[in-house]
Amino acid sequence: APAGDQPDKKEGASLVVDMSFDVKTLDPGRSFERTGTLVNHVLYETLLTFNGDDVSKPVDGLASYVLSDEDKVMTLTMKDGGAFSDGSPITVDDAVFSLQRVQGIAGNPSFLLDGVTIAKTSDTTLTLTSETPNPTLAYLLPNPSLGIINSKLLTENGGSVDSDDASESFLNGTSAGSGPYILESYDATSQIVLAANPEYRGDQPAYSRIVVRNVIGETQKLNVQAGESQVAIDLNPDQVAELSADELNIKSAPSRYTIYMMLNQDPSISTITSNPDFSTAVKSALDYDKILALAGKGAERPGGVVPSMFVGTLPTERGNQFDLAAAKESLKASGYAGEEVVLHYANDVTVSGIALQPLAETVQSQLKDVGINVTLAAAPEATELDNYRAGKEEMGIWSWGADYPDPQNYIAFAPGENLGKRAGWLAGDAERVERLRAAAQAASFDDRGAAYEELQVALNEDGPFIALFQPVGNIVTAKSITGFTSNSVWTIDLASIE
Amino acid sequence: MTDPLLDIRNVTVSYRQPGVGRLTAVNDVTLSLGRGEVLGLVGESGCGKSTLARSICGLEPVESGSISFNGRQVGRLGFGRRPRELVAIQMVFQNPFASLNPRRTIGSQIEDGLRANPRPDTWTVAGLLDEVELDRSSIARYPHEFSGGQRQRIAIARAIAAGPDLLIGDEAIASLDASLQAKIARLMRKLALESDAALLFISHDLAVVRVIADDVAVMNRGVIVEKGPVAQVWNAPQNEYTERLLSAIPAVDGLGRLPATV
């Protein structure tokens, strides 16, 4: 229905949203950064989706689904009446094309569909077949990276489902989806402008135009206070604490990030951090409450790496605890004699508005209290990532954001896995952890919580990772904004803002 | 007849001038000078006198022709030290304020000269200071403590210290007060002749050259237009340019005679 049919107080007005950009592309098949995800969520509809804030249960999007008993085959049935912004209908072919393209062009999000075979089974259905049981697949499909693209339009503009695809720059200028908004303009450095999609078959959003601007956190605060913007996304708790709830709406929710510290287990990298006693010493030497205070009001400290809103999160009491005496004892046992250890971190990133630098400084100062000499090595993330991913950092502070709302995502911390390897923790290094890991992955839905908790306890004790805290995500809006939904996948649903 | 001390044959020197091309500053000049001779070189500003002097010292590359000194070819002075034999050509410059290093005592600068002298015991610094009528206590002082005329004497002392066979004065008295000019010019002549050296005295002022030189060469636009004994050139110039030069000099007779122009 044309927007004009529904008289609305905000019709014609632009909504201004400030966030700090990390966008690299608006091609959904390539984009996996926060900004791109936020925007693509309203440009493209997905086969499944989440209902508002609730990420615990995927719901129907462009399709409905059934999962086979062994969790291996998912059958999706397309709904009728969907149309792209150019008016053409959404077909099952578009769905197959879009998903296959994500796999074929091998971009950042292609891992979401690793080991999945996509097939059209009828004019209204398609199946996603996994080699191994894949109960999380339904939680992945709402990801905006798996948004459904107008395949005809894209093919005309260089799109394909393999590495020959050349449609990225087209998608950076024109959206080819069916979401409530269409792309008006995109500038990776300054702003992204969205306009309401007149062909959208759902309810028209309240704002006909949205400007998402690239602004650093501190400036976001000033802008939203000054009324220059209506939504600020990256305010840290300190900044939020200075705002008055009388003038602005503040919505705080735990973020999907875990900030953790890593101690390399590879003796060729460091004989110190790979020493289990040293590791234990560090774990008890940190004053977690004080560190949490840095993260500000609303931040939490789950006992392990799994954030508080996911199944299987570990209660704080079961996590590592500050114990100065124990720390000194373990340190003595480790034979550490005051050598310098290097703590790496990126100095140009903030996680939910929290800079890593004060954190690193605090860790350094706390470890100093037990006698551990830490040297800080700060670098831009780009430089540091390489070091880290190659497993060359002695100690590091990093963050992990859930790719999808499921504890399975945190298997990455296990030995031999993605993050484990970066800490020099290889398969076979920790028998107990690996056993518990297998158990957790095999657990059925109801038992998973307990299994993952056990795994985290073992990770805490034997592993090279120390979960520091889970920051709070703050969304601050002007009083004129009366409501919106937000969740850990797409941060805020722009179309829901009223 | 023995070879003259300085033998300049068909020397041409030119400068590259940006945007204009080459400017021939010295054009096919032939001159020679023997020991004990005092040659005056006159000409208007820019006629190439300094260029010729600099070529004799090896400071400008000679485009064609040759300069030989004591039978030795004068080459262009490069990065290295000047050949020992050529150190016997010394020069005194026009600007008394730029001819001494302001950061070194005059004693050490005169010693530089002595060190270059093949017979260093001919002179002492003190002796040289006596010779140029400066107080011996000046040794430890710096150039800025001296007046222009005194500095010029120090520069002469330094040149003499090197025991030159050829002393060149390039407008050495031009920037001095009228009352000092005579004194310094006389000093140069005296010292040069006492040490049996030749003196090439360059000036744009024919009247000055007339009273100090034995022979005079007149230069115009890079060319030597006339050369001869001073009296002859002064009283009976052969060249039209020399004549013009001479007649333009105002006579100091209080008669109000305007100098001639052409």
Binding site: E361, L376, A379 | F93, P102
Partner: protein, 292 residues
């Protein structure tokens, strides 16, 4: 003409005392002296350990922490005082090293001319064609942030200034008749450069260096501000201002280190100015021309 004047009025030795007789020079020198004392005595006069996170976070100025505390509860006054121990020596080191490097290269270019001149000065042009901070940024990013690398970056970008000035001064100075006289007395080119030319161009270069200390502090702090200089938790002024960007309404975090930079730079400029004013005009002009 100019040569006459320039030799006539040039003081024999470096004219420090006379230059500092000007009231502004005195003020500048006093401010520098205060900062130098602060730097030397920092451990004793700073009220707290600059690294100790022992205070409540983000305290406003006043109370126990005169200038407030930062985001991790460190005393800003102590950090500002200790900051002098980083900024001052490093800036001096940058200036002295680039002065030596630049002067040597510039003097060689100016004295020998020809190919050497072309090569050296074209490289200098190349460096000049980059805005300092961008080149420094690339270098610092390439080598990783650290004070050493910031130093290297600054060295690379600042020597050409000295080279240009030294070159132009040497080109004039080598025309001086005493230089020629020295050569005529048998000095080799290098001896001449070392003995007759360099001593007579060094004072303007020193003045330029003094003037540049301020600029060096500014640029170093700019690098630190961008996170490419001092490594935390070092109390570096630029880095402290940068902390303030994330903590805007805690204005004291950025204000005081910024004021510290301002005062030091003003002081060095005052001293540099009076030194330059004590130079003779032609040399002073050379100094001006080489300023970036």
């Amino acid at each position: 003409m100019t040569a006459v004047e320039n030799t006539r009025s040039r003081p024999r030795r470096f004219a420090l005392p006379k230059a500092l007789r000007s009231p502004l020079g005195v003020i500048g020198a006093s401010i520098i002296a205060v900062w130098v004392v602060a730097a030397v005595l920092a451990p004793w006069i700073a009220p707290a350990d600059p690294l100790a996170q022992s205070f409540p976070r983000l305290q406003e100025p006043g109370g126990t922490n005169i200038l407030g505390t930062d985001a991790v509860g460190r005393d800003i006054l102590s950090r500002v005082i200790h900051g002098a121990r980083i900024s001052l020596p490093l800036a001096l080191l940058v200036v002295v090293s680039s002065m030596i490097l630049g002067t040597v290269l510039g003097a060689i270019a100016g004295y020998f001319g020809k190919v050497l001149d072309e090569v050296i000065m074209r490289v200098a042009d190349l460096v000049f064609a980059f805005p300092t901070i961008i080149l420094a940024l690339v270098i610092a990013a390439a080598l990783g942030p650290s004070l050493t690398n910031a130093f290297i970056a600054m060295l690379v970008v600042s020597w050409p200034g000295y080279a240009r000035v030294a070159r132009s001064l040497v080109m004039v100075a080598r025309q001086n008749e005493y230089v020629v006289a020295g050569r005529l007395l048998g000095a080799s080119a290098l001896t001449s450069l070392w003995r007759d030319v360099l001593p007579n161009v060094i004072s303007p270069v020193l003045v330029l260096a003094t003037l540049n200390v301020g600029a060096a502090i500014l640029e170093l702090s700019g690098l630190s501000f961008l996170g490419l200089g001092a490594v935390p938790p070092l109390a570096d002024w630029g880095a402290m201002v940068s902390d303030g960007v994330h903590q805007f309404s805690s204005w004291w975090i950025a204000l005081f280190p910024g004021l510290a930079i301002l005062t030091v730079v003003v002081a060095f400029n005052l001293v540099g100015d009076s030194l330059r004013d004590s130079l003779d005009p032609t040399m002073a002009k050379a100094v001006n021309g080489g300023k970036r």
